[in-house]
């Protein structure tokens, strides 16, 4: 479904991505594990069209995404929850979610989508009329995930979804994401520092180090691998 090949990106002389190749199949949940500065955010920004990679190809369901503007990539069925969430702070929860259904592919399904988001995140239903900026960090992250779901994505990209969240609310968030994964209706590609939690949720993971893919495997196997555990699980 998503096929990334030979992806390179440099910021000046710093090579953030070096010949990266990644596959995500339909209905699959994949994690990218790596330390800070490994190039994870650059990779997600390239997929979603916020940066244009120096070289390489990103194909989604046969369509080349490199060179397409971000709004077209949303229309192809890829939604992203970026690291700083880019929510519309002075607007209400409902308005933020409705904006998720702005693109043509999502418009008609907006009412169903909204009900679904409130079912996944009951906290948001209680706060639907409040301005997003007064919500807690965890609630804002739920709005960001909800807004992404409203675009009716076939592939959901998540950049460090649990970063900086209280453990309880991070748990709620992951429970909702796990439900989405189990339904199998959309694929997920997530970058996560909390590798232990991520490996419980996904099917497969890639190890990214200094812009290179240095390993790949089934989540179960990686979770039990000693070398992986030392480098990525902080044991």
């Amino acid at each position: 479904m998503l096929e990334i090949d030979g992806l390179n990106h440099s910021y000046g002389r710093h090579r953030a991505l070096n010949d990266v190749a990644i596959r995500v199949r339909s209905g699959e949940a994949v994690a990218i594990l790596g330390a800070n500065g490994a190039g994870k955010t650059t990779l997600l920004n390239a997929i979603v069209g916020l940066i244009r990679p120096s070289a390489g190809s990103i194909r989604f369901r046969g369509v080349e995404l490199v060179g397409l503007p971000a709004r077209r990539i949303v229309g192809e069925g890829i939604a992203a929850v970026t690291e700083n969430r880019h929510l519309f702070g002075s607007m209400s929860v409902t308005e933020n979610l409705s904006l998720g259904a702005y693109s043509r592919r999502a418009r008609d399904a907006a009412p169903d989508g909204m009900a679904r988001v409130f079912e996944l995140f009951p906290r948001l239903a209680e706060r639907r009329g409040q301005a997003v900026r007064v919500l807690s960090g965890g609630e804002q992250q739920m709005v960001a995930v909800g807004r992404a779901l409203m675009t009716r994505p076939l592939l959901l990209l998540l950049d460090e979804p649990s970063l900086g969240l209280a453990p309880l609310i991070a748990g709620e968030l992951f429970a909702a994401l796990t439900r989405i994964v189990d339904e199998g209706a959309m694929s997920i590609l997530m970058v996560e520092q909390n590798a232990r939690r991520a490996l419980k949720m996904v099917n497969r993971a890639y190890l990214l180090s200094l812009g290179r893919i240095v390993g790949e495997g089934a989540a179960k196997a990686l979770a039990e691998d000693r070398a992986v555990a030392e480098s990525y699980l902080g044991l």
Partner: protein
């Protein structure tokens, strides 16, 4: 003259400032262009109304159905031709702001110079509905009341569009977070151009209304631009209700000043009010953290 009448007069003027500021706010808040030539479109529309009225006897309110769409088109074109290259190469919105200040400063002189050559620098006015109107026991010039009512209708329409339509909500989203807007599929270029064009259209509407009760010449633009800037910053960039409140405040303050102190000091009052708001509430009257 009782103080109530002075305040009503200020509200009428303030309603117009609010309309002027809303247009400026669409251009600045959404398209991130500080359009120093904004007032020139207001001035041009005033002249258009003047010529249509004196040459062909066209009712200025009806004339707006011609001048407002024309201004929309002209501003859309200006955005596509002059501003798009700047928006394309700007790395940050701050850089874009800086560059557009320079570009529109140039545009200001071009438009003003052209208007001076075409229309001469003389003050113009025409007599439209100059008769007094009794309202709630007070007396007002009918043209001022009509201008205020029209400004109110237009401002309300703009607010309704921004608050309740898909297009309007997308414009507000773009003003708040352009990256977030792209992530939900908003076409930033297209909507910026439309917002800029709508802003220009509001300038033309305001210019027409101004021409019905004030005299004007090719040099009036800059004063309206400055007042719009003051009102927009007071009310909050991108915040239309803020513009409305700040515009009314400015109008009333000016009216009180010109009646009780000196009419030559109104601009000073505008800036004093501006400074006070900036000191007390640096992010505008309704700004947040």
């Amino acid at each position: 003259m009782p103080v109530i009448e002075v305040i009503f007069g200020g509200v009428i003027l303030g309603g117009l400032y609010a309309l002027v500021a809303m247009g400026f706010n669409l251009q600045y808040g959404v398209a991130r262009i500080v359009n120093l030539a904004y007032g020139e479109f207001l001035m041009t529309a005033a002249f258009a109304a003047f010529w249509m009225f004196t040459l062909f006897g066209v009712n200025p309110i009806l004339g707006m159905f011609l001048s407002v769409p024309a201004a929309f088109g002209a501003n859309w074109l200006i955005y596509r031709v002059l501003m798009t290259p700047l928006a394309r190469r700007a790395r940050t919105r701050d850089q874009l702001e800086g560059e557009t200040i320079l570009a529109t400063f140039g545009l200001l002189f071009v438009l003003r110079g052209a208007a001076t050559i075409a229309f001469t620098a003389n003050d113009r006015y025409y007599d439209y509905l100059g008769e007094p109107l009794r309202l709630l026991g007070f007396t007002f010039a009918a043209n001022r009341v009509l201008a205020f009512a029209t400004a109110g209708v237009i401002a309300t329409a703009v607010w309704v569009v921004l608050q309740f339509t898909r297009f309007g909500v997308a414009l507000r989203a773009l003003a708040i977070d352009p990256v977030g807007a792209q992530l939900v599929g908003v076409d930033v270029r297209r909507l910026s151009a439309l917002a800029f064009a709508c802003g220009g259209a509001l300038a033309a509407a305001a210019g027409t209304l101004v021409s019905t009760f004030l005299s004007f010449n090719p040099a009036i633009g800059i004063e309206f631009t400055m007042k719009a800037l003051v009102v927009v910053i007071m009310g909050g960039i991108g915040n239309m209700l803020g513009s409305l409140a700040a515009g009314l405040m400015l109008g009333v303050a000016e009216a009180l000043c010109s009646y009780y102190v000196d009419s030559g000091l109104t601009l000073a009052v505008a800036y004093a009010l501006f400074l006070i708001v900036l000191v007390v509430r640096p992010r505008g009257l309704f700004g947040t953290a």
